[in-house]
Each structure stands twice: as C-alpha cells, then as structure tokens.
Symmetry: C2
Subunit: 235 residues, 2 copies
C-alpha cells in the first residue's frame, strides 16, 4: 500500500478521517506507523495529498488530511480481456488498476471455461477490492470501469464498434501478424485472448469491429504478463 485510499464514509470532519479494519491493520502491521507521522493519502475518485496520524490504537486510527494533487493520468486505452481463470482474474484486476487502464471489458470466448463465470471474484464487491489494491499500489484514486460481458457475439457486433470508434483497434494474437506497435500517439482498443488464444471466428469478428491482429513474439505469456508487456510497449 503506497497510498492510503479514503472514502466518504471515513470522514468525521472535513479534514479528519477514522480508519478501522484492513487499513488500520496495514498501518499497524506493515507500515508500523507512529503518531505524528505523515502518510500519502488519496480520496477515492478525487485528489491525493497527505495525512498526519493523530491517534493510533487497536480499535482505530485517526488522521488529519489535506488534498492538493491530482491523481496520475490514465492510459488512453480500453482493454478487452477474455475472462481469465479466477486466481488470475484477481491479479489482472490489480495490474489493470495499477497500470492506469480506465476501462476493462471482461469478455466471454470459446476457450474460456464455463466454470470461470461462476467465481465469486466476479461479484462487484470482490472486483472493487482488487481494484483498490491496485490503486493503492500505484498511487491512483480513480477506479477503472469494469464491464462484464458474458456473450461474445452481441457485444462484439453491437457494442464494440462504437467503443473502438476513433481508436487504434488491436487484437493480441500469436501468428504471422505485424508486431504490436510501440509508443502510439492515439487512443487504443486492445483485446487479449484466453489461454490458448482466440479462435479464428473470434479474431474475424473482432476484426469486423475494427480490431487488427498483432503479435508479441513467439513466447506465450500468461495473461497478466501479456497485459503489462503490451501496455508498456504501446504507451
């Protein structure tokens, strides 16, 4: 946690917050914070600043806070991911939030196991928890928008063309395709497939919606690694 993320419910006055639960434990056990210390804080969805620790005991922590700094810019990207397996999903959500992706679509694909859609990690509270961890890691305050799309075809036919309009549309796909471009100067819509890749029909449908296949070398990367590698290359 490189940023203590605060929410409206934490405030007991305009410049005072009281923390309990996970953030309190983190202050005590990981940060080993002491009264008088100054910590980086951020207001969820708002500015960042500093908090001075006024009181810390086993029940709660109280901080005096001020905000004076905007959060870092997001990347100009909409990321489409074939729904990863539950364990990977949690890490990918953190990575996506940490790297500054403002919008993520979790999409079905032929090679997504049906059971993946049953995971409790897809519940809004569980998604939010991982995103918060990513924001705290990277020092950002703005939650990405997460869109969950259980049906590939209607999404790609009806919604994707509009989402991808006026962007550079790319599908990460192994094979004899151009290399993923570097340091692009425009917004991007990027689709990354499941383990085993998109099936040809899906690549075709994504292409019809404006997304061109690109490859990232002959090595097959885990989804989480592919996400960070592709974003770092693009921006």
């Amino acid at each position: 946690m490189n940023l203590l993320l605060l929410e409206a419910a934490d405030f007991v006055a305009a410049d005072r917050v009281i923390l309990t639960g996970r953030r309190l434990r983190h202050l005590q056990e990981v940060h080993r914070a002491e009264v008088g210390e100054t910590l980086r804080v951020g207001l969820l969805g708002g500015e960042m600043g500093e908090g001075r620790l006024l009181r810390l005991d086993t029940a709660s922590a109280e901080l005096q806070v001020r905000f004076d700094q905007p959060p870092p810019a997001k990347l100009p990207v909409t990321l489409l991911l074939a729904l990863p397996r539950p364990k990977m999903l949690r890490r990918v959500l953190q990575t996506v939030a940490a790297m500054g992706v403002p919008r993520l679509v979790l999409l079905n694909s032929y090679r997504v196991e049906k059971s993946f859609w049953q995971t409790p990690f897809l519940e809004p509270a569980a998604i939010r928890e991982q995103l918060i961890l990513g924001l705290e890691q990277a020092r950002d305050t703005v939650l990405p928008e997460i869109i969950v799309e259980k049906r590939f075809k209607p999404f790609v036919e009806d919604r994707l063309p509009q989402l991808a309009a006026d962007t550079l549309g790319l599908v990460g796909h192994p094979g004899d395709f151009p290399a993923c471009p570097r340091a692009v100067q425009q917004p991007v819509t990027l689709a990354i497939g499941p383990e085993g890749g998109w099936i040809p029909y899906e690549v075709e449908k994504l292409a019809e919606a404006g997304l061109t296949p690109v490859q990232l070398g002959e090595r097959i990367l885990r989804v989480e690694t592919a996400v960070s590698a592709l974003l770092a290359r693009l921006f």
Copy 2:
C-alpha cells in the same frame, strides 16, 4: 503448460520417454490428452519438437518424440533484482523464464527484509521448479542462470562492472530521471529495486558500476509488473 519439457532421465530410448508425476497429471487432468495425440515437446537445454502419445494410464505416459526446432532467442539482458518477498519471488522467477531473460541476479538491498533470505523458495530445487513452469508457459527449453548475491557492496563493486561492460546499464528508479529507453539495439544490464526502491547510496554505487537511473512514470508497480513492463519497453 504449452510445452512438455523433457529431461535426460525421462528417456527409455533415443525417441521414447516415460512420464510420471506432475507432467503425467497435467496430461490427464488439464490437457485431457488422448492416445495418438501429438503434443509440443522440448528437451531441457535443447531443441523443441513433437511427441506422439503412445500410452497413457494412471501410472505413466509414454511418448514417441522428435526434435527439429531451436528454442526461441533469449533477450540480450542481465537482470538484477533486489530480492522480492518469497511469494513474489516465485512469480518473478516464472516471468523471468517466460520472457526469455538469460541471466538473473537476486541481490540484497537496504530495503530487502532480512527474513526474505530465509525462504525455502531460494533453494536451487525450488528456483528450478519455478523456472521450469515459466519455460513450459512460454515454450522455451533453456533455463536462465540465477545468481544469488546476499551482499550488495562486494557484488556491485567487484562483479557488476564486468557483467555490465559493453552493455547499456540502467537502474529503474522513480524520480526526476530520463524515461526508460525503448526498442534498444544493444545488450542491457537492468537493475530493479525492492518495494520502496533503492536507497540513494545504492543508486550511487550502481551508477559507479555503469548503471544510469531511468524512470517508468509516476505509478509504482509491483516488481513482477515492472519486470514485464520494462522488458517489453526495452526490447
């Protein structure tokens, strides 16, 4: 597992292997392989090719194999990492192997917790296990060399200048430094710090050994994410 990695001990004839244990279970439970099927195989440290499944039962699997393809090229990089916390170490080892890093130095730093050096995940067999998982993921056969350096100063003073000679030496470090270069055309020596970063003394010593500080934006990334992002940007 996108590649079935074979070792000398698996061979019962020049073109026959018998598998048990983890790889057998993977064939049965994840791959759900069937007799007659052809699978991608690789010889640890050697070539890649195909294996035809001759027999599969609860005790073992037998394959007929042939090798006709070199493994993918490695990246021209030596990676220095401040020793990550044990859980992260395991994932980083997989990522390093998957992305094609040929040489990794795990180094001490002021901000590496002393307890991290006690982890059983640093034992050679445990390191090897994670590297193999990374190679199987990415379809590579060649294990990276892992150098474990518990003392920062002697390594950086006595060994690093030689390791970094004739390479572009870089230290990932947040702050007012040039951005990490892109698409470099020469070998690189890249050092990535611990959670909380290198201390100024360490950055200074790394600079004396020929490594220049570069930054990767204002977001603070987990080590694993920073590794894949920096490598993707550099190569």
